[in-house]
Symmetry: C2
Subunit: 191 residues, 2 copies
DNA sequence: GTCTATAGCTGGATAGAC
DNA sequence: GTCTATCCAGCTATAGAC
């Protein structure tokens, strides 16, 4: 309980980034103003620029941060059954951080050039991970391409609509998606 | 070749709507200004307001127009094999109009309230159509919900990345998606 | 039917007080 | 570390000439 007064910079930064993620995910990057973010975070607009050089960098950091952490989570996984592990990791990670998940899948086209390249490289990395898993299950390179995109498309949509009230739990949902994904990839190589 | 001079209103309107669709799909609704649309369409900004009351209505009309035409195309289909017909119709329609397809799937969250409701109703209609097909194939209502969303998510992503150069043709791609979708829906009811 | 001109706002970002 | 105050660029939408 030290430091009940003084520097709250870390709290402020966290609050700003969380609030920005929520607003970007909800209304879209371009429709959210720095003043909106500031108001929701309980500071004034000028203060935001202590924590980010500009609005685009804020979006970029949210996107790359999410993707980096997602890839790190995957690398820390038990990958005995790679396809199932991939689906489970993607869903559990994304449902724990739905705002940045939505941003990483739907808002990054607002970035310009240099920043876009950085994020795009991460996303390609991640796609390639899934692509390789599909190849080891016997898909042709051509099939692997659109199957990878299809699986990621359907997984990325989940945080937009799923709410763990009433219906399936997140774990149950993940099981269903593992089953569905297995059926999409016809022939396991372990014959 | 009558009327090489005089009223070109219809051409202008078509050009404006096409240009707007392309820009909204490419950069996102909020990042495109009326001036951008006007410049690309070869008119001045004020002229746009002869053809739409405001920018939001323009987006709304593009979205509802796409969805209405998509549903009409479905209703005109040979529906002997409903699931395959649905997938083929969705892909061929969307790939013929990739800009409005992207708008209908990704840009409509920029609309506000009344307009959003109108579009949302159309999209729900369309989702329900697919949901019913899945129910007749023996899926439980619960499974039908997330399977519907998964199929539409993966289909809606296609116009974002697919270009008919080099690789698969649109028809070949549609065949693969029909196969993949059939595998996602485990048990045909026609036993 | 298209233009010019502009009103009226809101946006991102900065400077300097405290 | 946060605030106040502000600059100025860019936006939507309108009014009225041609």
């Amino acid at each position: 309980m030290a430091r009940t007064r003084g520097s709250f910079a870390e709290d402020t930064k966290g609050r700003i980034f969380n609030v920005a993620a929520a607003l970007f995910a909800g209304r879209g990057f371009a429709a959210v103003s720095m003043r909106d973010i500031a108001a929701e975070a309980g500071v004034r607009a000028g203060t935001l620029y202590r924590y980010t050089p500009d609005k685009n960098t804020l979006l970029c950091d949210l996107g790359t941060g999410h993707l980096r952490a997602l890839i790190a989570a995957w690398e820390a996984c038990d990958q005995t059954d790679p396809l199932a592990a991939f689906v489970r990791n993607h869903l559990s990670f994304s449902l724990a951080r739905p705002d940045t998940a939505v941003i990483a899948s739907r808002e990054l086209h607002c970035l310009s050039d240099d920043q876009a390249r950085a994020v795009f490289a991460l996303r390609t990395d991640y796609e390639t991970t899934l692509g390789r898993i599909l190849l080891t299950r016997g898909l042709s390179p051509e099939e692997a391409v659109f199957t990878t995109r299809s699986i990621l498309a359907m997984l990325s949509q989940v945080p937009i609509w799923f709410r763990a009230r009433g219906g399936l739990s997140a774990q149950e949902l993940a099981m269903r998606y593992v089953d569905m994904t297995r059926r999409m990839v016809p022939l396991p190589a372990t014959a």
